[in-house]
């Protein structure tokens, strides 16, 4: 449903779409049923000359079941939705699969810095690749991310991955994703972060392993004399 418009770009996007579909089906059914009953009653019991309204207290269990049964069923549906939602939540947010690579995302007013591990696949080494407003990842690899903020709350959101996580200054927030679709897509900041909140876009570039290797190679300096990479210790305060 969602994927008609927003492509389904990560390993768990389909699961989240499925939960949304389930909820849409259930709530849609209830919504249209309730609206239909409402409109039927309005039309059926419009004021008529000489017809007096019924006197129904609604306290008798026999009358009450008209309301009681629908909400028992609502409860059943609720329980089903809870199980569906929580099982996805556990996959996406509560457990992390083994990572192939870790990237660090540093947000500040109003730009993103993405620290890629570079050729050696490890962060905090001299060959880290720091790019502003562009995150390069490989299709099919499992990534962990470390979110850090230099100033206020931000939120790291990639709609095609169905991924969203707030970034809290003073902490490192972790999560994971596994891209399944190549191409360039939007990264959004979804937590208001000051006047530049609307001009804080970034792009995620999902590449094939070959393209990514070429990209890494182009940005890796040939000599070892590289400036030491910025440590997370410089967090907090304005840059």
């Amino acid at each position: 449903m969602i994927d008609t418009y927003v492509p389904n770009g990560s390993s768990f996007a389909g699961d989240i779409d499925h939960v949304i579909l389930v909820i849409t089906a259930i709530t849609g059914f209830w919504f249209f049923l309730a609206e239909a009953v409402l409109f039927y009653l309005i039309i059926k019991y419009g004021e008529q000359e000489g017809v007096r309204a019924k006197y129904v207290a609604g306290e008798d269990p026999k009358e009450k079941r008209w309301v009681a049964w629908p909400h028992y069923i609502t409860l059943l549906f609720d329980i089903y939705i809870i199980f569906a939602a929580i099982s996805v939540w556990q996959d996406v947010k509560q457990t992390m699969p083994q990572a192939d690579e870790t990237v660090r995302v540093i947000a500040q007013q109003w730009a993103w810095t993405f620290v890629h591990p570079g050729a050696d696949g490890k962060l905090d080494t001299p060959d880290d690749i720091r790019v502003v407003d562009e995150l390069h990842v490989v299709k099919g690899k499992t990534y962990h991310f470390e979110l850090q903020s230099r100033d206020v709350l931000h939120s790291f959101s990639i709609p095609i991955f169905r991924l969203k996580q707030d970034i809290i200054p003073g902490r490192t927030v972790r999560g994971w994703f596994k891209p399944t679709l190549t191409g360039g897509y939007d990264i959004q900041c979804t937590e208001i972060c000051g006047i530049g909140h609307g001009i804080m876009p970034a792009r995620i570039i999902v590449e094939t392993p070959e393209d990514h290797a070429a990209w890494v190679l182009a940005l890796t300096p040939t000599q070892a004399a590289i400036t030491p990479s910025e440590q997370p210790t410089q967090l907090g305060g304005m840059p």
């Binding site: 996580q165 809290i168 003073g170 902490r171 490192t172 927030v173 972790r174 994971w176 210790t233």
Partner: protein, 67 residues
């Protein structure tokens, strides 16, 4: 400075956050407290109202008896 970075593992939930226990405890207390207080007031008022009614009835019975 590095030590100031606390790890709030939002995903693995490994309990690294030292505030977790008190956070959960405070959540419970602060959620249940208003209900407990209001329940207390309602209980007291209902009990007092019942007592007043009983006393009133007793009074009534007394006056009736005398009459």
């Amino acid at each position: 400075m590095n030590s100031l970075l606390t790890i709030a593992c939002a995903v693995c939930g490994a309990g690294e956050d030292p505030a977790k226990g008190s956070y959960v405890g405070m959540t419970l207390i602060i959620s249940a407290l208003p209900l407990a207080m209001l329940g207390g007031i309602i209980w007291y008022v209902v009990r007092a109202a019942k007592k007043a009614e009983l006393a009133e009835n007793a009074q009534q019975a007394k006056t009736d008896g005398r009459a």
